[in-house]
Structure formats: C-alpha cells, structure tokens
Symmetry: C2
Subunit: 210 residues, 2 copies
C-alpha cells in the first residue's frame, strides 16, 4: 500500500492524512492533495480553518444533542414545531435526512449511536438518560423510534421501549417496507414480509399529513 | 444543490470547503466532515496542519521543477540516475506514475501543464525556457516527450519539438498503443491505428532494458 515513492515528506504527510478519511484511498488522497497545491494559500487556509473551527468550536443542543451554534438548536427553539413528538435518531446526519423529507414537524433526540457491546458501546455511552428525563418531565405524547434496522438498532429499540413504556407516552417506529419507486422483485424477503404485515389502508397511504 | 438545511453554520462552512475538492459532492463532503467531528482534536489539527504546511512550505526542484523538500530533488541529485535523458511530463503526478513503473532511470522535467489557449496558458506559463536551457547546456542525449495525447498535449509536443530540434538532441515520445491486458475489440480506432503504425519487432517487445 505504502510502497509508493513520494517526492516530498510534506506531500506524503498530507496524503497520509487525507487517506485516513472514510472511503478515500491513497490515489484519491493524492489527487485531492495536488489540487490543494494548485490553489491559493488563502483558499487552503480557509479550508484548514473550517475544519479546525468546526472541531474546536462545535456545540450540541442541550435538549436534543443535535449540532447547534446556540445553546438550544434551531429546531428545539422553533415555536412552530410540534413539541409533543420526539423522533429518536442515531446521528446528526439522520436529523438532516428526516428534515429533508419536509414531512416531520416534531422535535428530535440524537442518541449518538446505538447499543453495540461488540464496539464497547453501552446505554450509558448514549443520550438515553436525557431522553427518559425529557419524556418523564411531561408534555410528550409520542416518541418515534427511527433507528437503523440492524441487530444493534433493534436491541436499542427494545432497551428504549423498556425504559419508556412505564411513562405515559405512545411509542412508535418508522414504517419499514418496499421503497417508493422500487419494484417488488428486487426487495429482500424480510423487507417485503414486514411491508405486507404492516400493510396500511389504501386511502390512508396517500395522506401525507397523518 | 445548496438548499439543504445544516443545523450549524460551522458545519455548513466545513461542508462547503470539502465540496470544493474535485470529485467530492455535498453528500460525501458531509460524510467526511462528520467523520472529522468524531475524531480527536489532536488528530483533526494534525490533518489541518498537514495541508497548511504542504501549501505554505512546498518547494520545487530548481532543475526539474518536481516537488522537493530540498533545493534539487532526490531524482536530480541521485548520481546513479542517467543524466543524459530527460523525460518531459506535465505534472508532479506524472513523475510518480513513471517512477512507479520502475522502468526509467533518467531525469525529468515538469512543465506544469500544457499549452492551452482556451485556459489562457501559453508557453511562458510553463517551464519551457528552463528545459531549452537545460538541453542547450549540453550533456543531454535524449528528450522523451510524455505529455497527454490530447490536442493541447500535441500542440505542446510540436512547440517543444520546434524549440529543441535545432539543438543536438534526440527527441522521442512514449509509445501509444493497446494497453497491456486489453483486448483489441475494446481499443478505440485511433489507439489501435497508432499501435499498428508504430509496431515493434516481436523479439524487442519483451526487452525491458531498451
């Protein structure tokens, strides 16, 4: 892998650092680094500073733990959002994905991952206590569990269900099924099976504002 | 493109900067930036510094204009290389590509691009004068032109040929032909045509040390 000869140690260091990024191999890293070399110094320092500032100055919403520039995030502090529903997701990226659907007007709770004993991640490493506290303080009618359909996601779902079910709150999970636009023959059996079990009333299936 | 909502200005700035990199779209940029957020502060500053140092401290060999940490690069200052042959390439990356073949023991000359009136790049923007000077100082028997087989590359080849041919030096160009391992049916006509025109003696085709 690393037997390629670089003409300069500075160049090699930069390629080493870029190739630590997920999905970036050494060839792509070299291409990106050589692109940096062709750019203005000001432009390159703008790039480097954007990364440094993000990492050093990033803040998380004290309520939902989403990334935020302020104490409470734009979503939590928006009075037009429905404060009685919390959608529980794994990551900041998931919040952005749900937001981009423009179908959800409630609040979020970012766990920061899922329970994964293999990776040494237990319930205490996630923002679970703060979720239970939010719900037990009242005013929440529904918690939507929107975690990955993996073994770890399901484990976390059951853990959250056990913690939340004593509280007076409706617990739901997002529908799993054949993706819109997908043909049945290409869906895997588990997905197709769940999508038949969880079939919905045809008239309801067109309503977006449920 | 940019209608996605980012929960933080810092995050958006970093995504903006990453998506300026060639071949990196906004989705990939977000993935890379979120990866940065999960890493140690020290690790992130090592990343940012590697880019800043490369851009601010980079030096170029005073002879061949390849990237170098020293006044003359490792190749130009290596006494075991054949100083009578110069391979003319466009970029630093091309030097690395030729070096990786381990078939070439001569020196290089990095032009820094090709003549491209459309992009406003004329002969004076490239390291052409310094190449002519190197050759006219004597001791060079052969100049190998290894530029891209594009219209701009061909234009530059002819320009260099005109400049160098009055000097007492052999001017060659790398063989164009069907790539090793490629089937004939997949080669384009121009490549196949050139590879028939420039056919070589069968016995010679196995010799690597020509």
């Amino acid at each position: 892998m690393n037997d390629e000869q670089y003409p300069s140690q500075l160049l090699q260091n930069a390629v080493d650092e870029f190739s630590k990024l997920p999905g970036i191999g050494r060839k792509t890293a070299l291409r990106l680094v050589l692109n940096m070399l062709r750019r203005d110094k000001e432009d390159v320092s703008r790039f480097a500073n954007s990364v440094l500032r993000l990492r050093n100055e990033v803040r998380y919403c004290s309520v939902c733990h989403n990334i935020s520039d302020t104490e409470t995030c734009q979503i939590c502090s928006n009075p037009s959002r429905d404060g009685s529903i919390i959608c529980v997701v794994e990551t900041v990226k998931d919040v952005m994905s749900v937001e981009n659907t423009q179908q959800y007007r409630g609040l979020y709770h970012v766990l920061g991952g899922v329970i994964s004993p293999m990776d040494g991640i237990g319930p205490n490493d996630l923002e679970i206590e703060s979720l239970v506290k939010r719900v037990s303080e009242g005013g929440i009618n529904e918690v939507i569990l929107a975690l990955s359909p993996t073994m770890e996601g399901d484990t976390t779902n059951f853990f959250l269900f056990k913690k939340l079910s004593p509280l007076d709150v409706k617990i739901t999970t997002i529908a799993r099924g054949v993706a819109v636009g997908d043909e049945l023959q290409y869906a895997d059996e588990v997905t197709l099976g769940r999508s038949i079990m969880n079939r919905v009333d045809f008239a309801d299936s067109f309503r977006m504002d449920r």
